[in-house]
């Protein structure tokens, strides 16, 4: 698991953590069943408040990305990797819709948008 937060961002820390962990679980970077470090360990590692980590983990639990077993710890949910391609794509949609509407607001047309996506895709 790799977390890199930016405390100076307008996005709350818990949301940054949820986003990054969600992505790493979906992409398989963190595999199903993997035990996660404890709240305190993650807090120590990225130097942010423990309650922020706890909040992020609770959200991931509600979204069924992780399972929290009392007294044992948190694990990446076993059912996540069984998501098929369609389901993974569904998960991308809310973010895409945001970006598309943002592009429209800024007057970026469909053709230019595709070019931008291509550019970002190959830059990563």
């Amino acid at each position: 698991m790799r977390l890199q937060v930016n405390p100076h961002s307008s996005i709350p820390l818990y949301a940054q953590i949820v986003e990054q962990m969600r992505n790493q679980i979906l992409s398989g970077t963190i595999q199903a069943g993997t035990p996660l470090p404890s709240v305190r360990e993650i807090s120590e590692m990225i130097e942010v408040n423990s309650l922020t980590i706890q909040k992020a983990l609770k959200i991931l639990e509600v979204e069924k990305f992780i399972v929290i077993r009392r007294g044992v710890g948190a694990f990446v949910s076993e059912s996540i990797n069984s998501l098929n391609q369609n389901q993974k794509e569904e998960l991308l949609k809310p973010g895409l819709i945001n970006i598309v509407s943002h592009a429209r607001e800024l007057g970026v047309d469909q053709e230019r948008f595709h070019v931008l996506v291509e550019e970002c895709w190959s830059a990563q």
């Binding site: 709350p12 709240v39 807090s43 130097e47 408040n49 309650l51």
Partner: protein
Amino acid sequence: MIEVNNLTLFGKSHNLRLDIPALKFYSPGITALVGHNGAGKSSLLRLMSGLEKSNTGLVSYLGKDIFKDFESLKEKIHLISWNLELYQGLTTKDHLKLIKSVSKNWSVEIENALLKDLSVPPDKRIDKLSRGEQVRFRLLLSLPRKPMVILLDEVTNELDTDSRRIIFKKLDSYSYDTGAQVVVATNMIEDIERYATDIILLKKGKVILQGALDNIKEEHKTNFEEIIRIYERKDLQL
């Protein structure tokens, strides 16, 4: 939980130093008390610690008047401030021994964990300690007594990043483990962004912004520094 109700405090020349209708501190968590010099941060912390009496209104801890019940609450509420002196002539070892001998519920477990992580010089005269060492030493004197409220009056401001990180990590883990409430008067934006769960912004004795940092960011859709700038610029609507 600490609650502030209808609080006013006047200065020597009858100027209004604090005017706070209502304020609640939820535990656990770290609340950052922010504001310019003279905004009333230190005054508020002194009132919350029971060392000073307000002119009107009440500061209470679990329903008890903090000023009236000072004797029974002083073990529960700790203020760490440069205005409260340690015994300068003692060594850290002797000072620790002294505080241990007068503390009823000293936790050796917390003490040992702190000794391991705080890297306080084990036997050095108090007046020879650096500022950072002094603050870390004060935590060593405070946390093993298991306070439920810890108030820090701008003691972290001039310290280097490493020292501040060690201190905030300890405050965070202590609060998380015990449910204690930490209130830190500070203007260090980076510490607040990393470690504060809640914010109180004071201006000329009044609370002009209060809430969970996450909610405040989501509401304003911008970063903390910019939010502070917006509020500091606003004229108070009285």
